[in-house]
């Protein structure tokens, strides 16, 4: 190898090291860490939402009078046909089982369908257990209608909530009911306030009323929602109802743009994410009674619902001085509020009431679990979208860990839901708890504070800072390389030189000739 070739090789090595090792290492070391999020997997979860879920609810069928040996299979077939007839967003089915013995059944924890021989056909759902009674007469037995009655009762009435949510093709209806309801949260704070428009002394028997009427409800709803409750008497706040007095012919429709809830909603430190309010408002004596309130002497108030906020109980007349609201006043207010609260919690829709609390709450657990799964999946999808849209944003390891934890939790929930051998009340409770956890972990992954703060450091900035180093190095390496490549070998150079020399000699000869002419 000649010297020149050696030099060329060295220059090439420099250039190759610079481009193939140096630049990538520099890039790697100065690039922010972005954990590889499983975005395809998350995308597929979002796209085929619930495709891997098949909710199975076991139902025990028993018959008190007749013994039908094949009724379980017949009901099962009818139920399957009914559910399959309406393709919904989610696969679900009922598993009709035969109880091993009647004593084993506990209608408070298991869904039980009892076939009762009666003079008419019909059904009834108990409000203190998860039992559905289907009444049939002998004619129905003869025409073999009992399985169909039973299946229809189960699907369309006992499991009406599932039928509504799972077997409904579009999500429109879903959104309509959630307009009023707060997003589901296992912990809800309830703030009950007595507001008076002026500073006159008032009191209320709220403690005894709550203990008598609300404590049992808290206990009952404990599996799905835990309440923390505070009550307060607020003076000088009539939610701006006094302004209505100046309006011409005010009606309750004006409330929407007059009521000022900011004072009640701000300056609070609730630890719970979801807050419901009940405000019992008395107008101030100065502004007088509110004519538009449809009140009677026994019910001097009217209740209004504020979507996702709570209920307003507006009284027609100001409260007399030194008066104490008794239980007689507060109990109907509480009843009314409890009914509205089921709507706020999403337990019942506008028209329905909670006449069958056990089955409704059981269904609510399933619906809430699946809604949580959807919510979490949306959050994860948003996270991957965010990570894609901001290529400069760091994605810390912790985010990936949380995403993985969330996906594992999801699998765990799906496994629970899909397992037909389970399905007791505790399963739904566990699934709901896990799904709450899932939502929480998803949100933790999304709201990682390390992710956004690095976003203000653009790529151009990096180039600008490193240009004083990269510039000289690049110039030196590549000009050096080009120069050494263009340099000719010594033998070639010599040949060139001799050529040039001969040319130069020719020139000299011309000069000599000119001089000779002189």
């Amino acid at each position: 190898m000649t010297l020149l070739n050696l030099r060329r090789a060295v220059a090439l090595w420099f250039a190759a090291l610079f481009t193939l090792v140096g630049i990538p290492i520099w890039y790697k070391l100065t690039t922010i860490y972005r954990a590889p999020l499983p975005s395809t997997y998350i995308g597929s979860i979002q796209e085929n939402m619930h495709s891997d879920i098949h909710v199975v609810v076991p139902v025990y069928v028993r018959s008190d009078t007749y013994k039908f040996p094949d009724v379980h299979d017949a009901i099962q077939a009818e139920v399957n046909a009914l559910i399959e007839a309406r393709a919904g967003r989610l696969n679900w089915s009922l598993q009709v089982l035969q109880p091993e013995s009647h004593e084993d059944l506990n209608p408070e924890t298991d869904h039980v369908l009892t076939l009762v021989l009666d003079d008419f056909t019909g059904y009834s759902i108990a409000y203190d257990s998860k039992e559905t009674a289907v009444f049939f007469d002998n004619e129905a037995v003869v025409s073999n209608d009992v399985p169909f009655f039973a299946a229809q009762t189960l699907v369309e009435h006992t499991f009406a909530t599932e039928w509504e949510h799972f077997s409904h093709p579009s999500r429109e209806r879903d959104d309509a009911t959630t307009e009023m309801a707060i997003s589901y949260s296992p912990e809800v704070h309830l703030s009950i306030s007595l507001l008076t428009g002026d500073g006159r002394p008032v009191a209320w028997d709220i403690d005894s009323t709550l203990e008598q009427y609300f404590t049992p409800l808290r206990r009952f709803l404990a599996p799905i929602v835990n309440f923390t409750v505070d009550t307060s008497i607020v003076q000088f706040n009539d939610l701006n109802l006094g302004a209505l007095q100046q309006a011409h012919n005010p009606s309750w429709l004006d409330l929407a743009h007059t009521v000022d809830l900011s004072d009640l909603s701000s300056m609070n430190h609730y630890r719970e994410k979801a807050v419901l309010n009940l405000a019992v408002v008395f107008p101030s004596a100065a502004s007088g009674s509110l004519a538009f309130i449809n009140a009677t002497s026994e019910k001097p108030w009217q209740s209004f619902m504020v979507p996702q906020w709570g209920a307003l109980v507006i009284n027609k007349d100001p409260l007399p001085d030194n008066s104490r609201l008794t239980q007689n006043y507060l109990a109907p207010v509480m009843y009314n509020f409890v009914r509205e609260m089921f709507q706020f919690l999403g337990l019942s829709s506008k028209s329905a009431d909670l006449s069958t609390p056990y089955t409704t709450i059981d269904s609510f657990k399933r619906v809430a679990t699946l809604k949580n799964l959807e919510k979490g999946a949306h959050t994860l999808l948003s996270l991957t979208k965010l990570a894609d849209q901001f290529p400069q944003m760091s994605v810390p390891r912790q985010v990936l860990d949380n995403v993985e934890r969330a996906l594992n939790l999801r699998l765990q929930i799906v496994e629970l839901l899909n397992d037909p051998s389970q399905g007791s009340e505790s399963t739904w409770n566990t699934a709901l708890r896990l799904s709450n956890n899932f939502v929480q972990v998803c949100e933790k992954a999304f709201f990682d504070k390390a992710m956004v703060q690095q976003n203000f450091f653009p790529q151009e900035h990096k180039i600008a800072v490193y240009l004083p180093l990269l510039g000289p190095l690049t110039v030196i390496t590549f000009t050096g390389l080009i120069k050494v490549l263009r340099e000719k070998d010594e033998s070639e150079a010599k040949r060139d030189e001799t050529q040039k020399e001969s040319e130069a000699e020719g020139d000299n000869n011309d000069e000599k000739q000119i001089l000779a002419e002189d």
């Binding site: 009892t114 009834s124 257990s129 500073g199 009952f220 030194n322 104490r324 008794t326």
Partner: protein, 660 residues
């Protein structure tokens, strides 16, 4: 028909709830295991229907529990008391306004609000089924905050302005209710460990920051101290511990550069049950309050427990000192204008005409109304409080104070007035000798602190103590310095004209050195200052360099050093604070990092270039180079060639010219 349906619905709902109740209550002992749920439903529905039918027949309205009970017994009652008229409903709230004229036409006004919370049980979880929190006069916004940060005592001070103790005497409440300039916060927090306590403390500071619209969230570990003997707590033995395995931590921080303004007053007023709408708080207006020479907002919450039941006691003070003639003049002409010639009070003993006037000293007569000072009248009393609102004037005989109710003036013996009902009240104050005021309480100790030295790398702190009394004063000097003031305690010296030594004065020293970016210097001296002496303690410090991101934005005037706290324990109990200090640190050129990068890069580029050339370029001897350059086809040679050619052609031309 609709009412019937409504009533039926009510009954069904009622039944549902009640049965739900009973069935859950019975969950534990399961009385009727054999009874099927269906039967229970039937029996209940029968009951409900029967009661419903009775009820519908009477009036068809909603049912209350009372009604149902009555209905099921077969008796109907027409009169229902929705409201019960109590004798009088009173809540534990008390408010009082005290006015005290100070020398040189100043006036001190103190708004005092005391309130107590409802009882709460120790150890009761909020999520317990029968746990309900009730609030009446105690602010709902504060209580959960204290609860989840496990704060047993909370003290917050917003102070601004200078208290002229030389002429005004002692600070109000022996100095216990006013902090140093800026915000001061200290709390007693119950926690299992110091880390837990700190975690709660930060959470408390952040929450208070939102509540009071101030930058309390800037409190971090590097501003937080754990005082050992600072501000003796009212009675330490009475401090409750909810969990016996925990201990109590006293934590303190101050933000000297926090401006106090109207946005801090509004949340203060919102904490009151009257919300600034009635009672003495109706006088408070941000513009007037923050126009004053000195103002202080203070908030103290203490937990008091008795046999498992606890209660928060809260004291709120809003205090100010304003110059009466100035405030009155501003009330008359909000935009300052020169005084009319006719209103000028010239000294008649000196020449005066339209162009010159030697003003007389300020008149000693005064006559004004409270509504002119505050811009508003007192709108009625706080009707819910145990005691009616009170206004007191602490004046001497040369002052006359009347209360104006419906244009009628009344006076009392002790100059204390009770505000009644919802009438508008005003105070009429007049005096023939404004210099005759209640004798100010003597100050046990004067303390002033200042920065010494020059230059940007070091400085000194000098604190002068002066005991004007005839008794030895025992005091504790508490100082917190930021970590970027690196003090040398070894340089502590004392100057005294009376020849006192350090050992005579400093009885005890507690010193916790700062850790960079982690904790401040915590210095506490126990001092004994002999009567009628004055002494100065001084020590030196170095100024540290900060990281470039730690400097405040360009438009700043320096670093505020919070006031030192002096607590006098003998002969009287008194607390005072020095003024804050302004420390200027050397500020680097912030383009420096970029310069450094460029310089380093250039050096690296040079080094690399040398190395690269050494390895890639060909090395030859000097002789070889010379011979090459002579015969080289380099640019130089080419240039020489071209030059030669030009020369030759020009010579040719010359030759031809000669020929011609």
């Amino acid at each position: 028909m609709r009412s019937l349906a409504g009533a039926f619905f009510w009954i069904v709902l009622f039944c549902a709830v009640i049965t739900a109740t009973t069935s859950i209550d019975e969950d534990l002992n399961i009385p009727n295991e054999a009874e099927t749920a269906g039967n229970a439903y039937q029996t209940c529905s029968a009951e409900c229907l029967s009661s419903a039918s009775e009820e519908i027949s009477t009036d068809g309205l909603e049912l209350t529990d009372e009604e149902i009970k009555v209905a099921s017994m077969g008796n109907t009652s027409d009169s229902l008391s929705l409201y019960e008229s109590s004798e009088s409903i009173k809540y534990p709230f008390h408010e009082q306004l005290t006015l005290r004229p100070l020398p040189r036409s100043f006036m001190f006004a103190s708004f005092e609000f005391l309130m107590r919370s409802n009882n709460f049980t120790v150890g009761e979880k909020e999520s317990d089924f029968n746990a309900y929190r009730h609030y009446t006069v105690f602010p709902k916004s504060l209580s959960p905050l204290l609860e989840y940060t496990q704060t047993r005592q909370l003290h917050l001070r917003f102070t601004h302005g200078r208290w002229d103790s030389e002429s005004w005497g002692q600070l109000p409440h022996e100095g216990r209710k006013s902090g140093g300039t800026g915000v001061e916060l200290w709390a007693v927090i119950e926690a299992g460990s110091k880390d837990d306590a700190f975690h709660n403390w930060i959470s408390l500071a952040n929450s208070l920051s939102g509540l009071f619209c101030s930058s309390i969230n800037f409190i971090t570990a590097e501003k937080t101290t754990y005082p050992t003997s600072y501000s003796p707590l009212s009675d330490e033995s009475s401090l409750p511990i909810f969990n016996t395995s925990n201990s109590l931590f006293l934590i303190r921080a101050a933000l000297a550069n926090e401006p106090i303004c109207t946005e801090n007053l509004t949340p203060f007023l919102k904490l009151l049950p009257t919300r600034g709408r009635t009672g003495i708080s109706s006088l408070l207006d941000g513009h007037k309050l923050f126009d004053s020479n000195w103002q202080s907002l203070s908030l103290d919450v203490e937990t008091h427990c008795n046999a498992g039941k606890c209660q928060y006691h809260m004291e709120q003070f809003i205090e100010m000192v304003f110059n009466v003639p100035n405030s009155l003049a501003r009330a008359d002409t909000p935009i300052p204008k020169p005084v009319q010639e006719s209103e000028l009070r010239c000294d008649p003993t000196k020449p005066h005409d339209a162009w010159q006037c030697f003003p007389l000293p300020q008149s000693r007569d005064t006559k004004f109304r409270l509504s002119k000072l505050f811009g508003r009248k007192i709108i009625g009393s706080s009707l819910i409080s145990e005691y009616p609102s009170k206004v007191c004037a602490n004046v001497t005989d040369s002052w006359k104070v009347f209360i104006d109710v419906n244009d009628a003036l009344f006076s009392t013996e002790d100059n204390c007035f009770t505000i009644k009902y919802d009438n508008e009240h005003d105070l009429h104050i007049e005096s023939t000798d404004t210099s005759n005021v209640v004798e100010p309480e003597p100050i046990p100790l004067f303390v002033s602190r200042s920065l010494t030295g020059y230059g940007q790398d070091s400085g000194g702190l000098r604190t002068v103590f002066r005991n004007p009394s005839n008794e030895t004063v025992e005091a504790s000097y508490f100082e917190t310095l930021p970590w970027y003031m690196r003090i040398y305690l070894s340089s502590l010296t004392m100057e005294s004209v009376d020849g006192l030594e350090i050992e005579d004065v400093i009885q005890n020293t507690y010193y916790l050195p700062a850790v960079d970016r982690q904790r401040p210097t915590h210095l506490n001296f126990k001092l004994l200052i002999p009567p009628n002496t004055s002494l100065a303690l001084s020590y030196q410090f170095d100024k540290a360099l900060l990281k470039y991101a730690e400097y405040p934005p360009d438009a700043n005037h320096g670093f505020e050093i919070e006031s030192a706290v002096v607590t006098v324990t003998r002969p009287i109990s008194y607390e005072l604070r020095t003024s804050t200090l302004l420390l200027s640190l050397s500020t680097p050129d912030f383009s420096m990092p970029y310069n450094v990068i460029i310089l380093t890069s250039t050096v690296m580029g040079l080094a690399f270039g040398t190395l690269f050339n050494l390895m890639v370029k060909k090395l030859i001897t000097v002789e070889e180079a010379d011979s090459r350059s002579s015969s080289s086809t380099s640019l130089k040679a080419k240039l020489a060639g071209i030059l030669g050619k030009i020369m030759r052609t020009s010579r040719k031309v010359d030759v031809e010219k000669k020929h011609q």
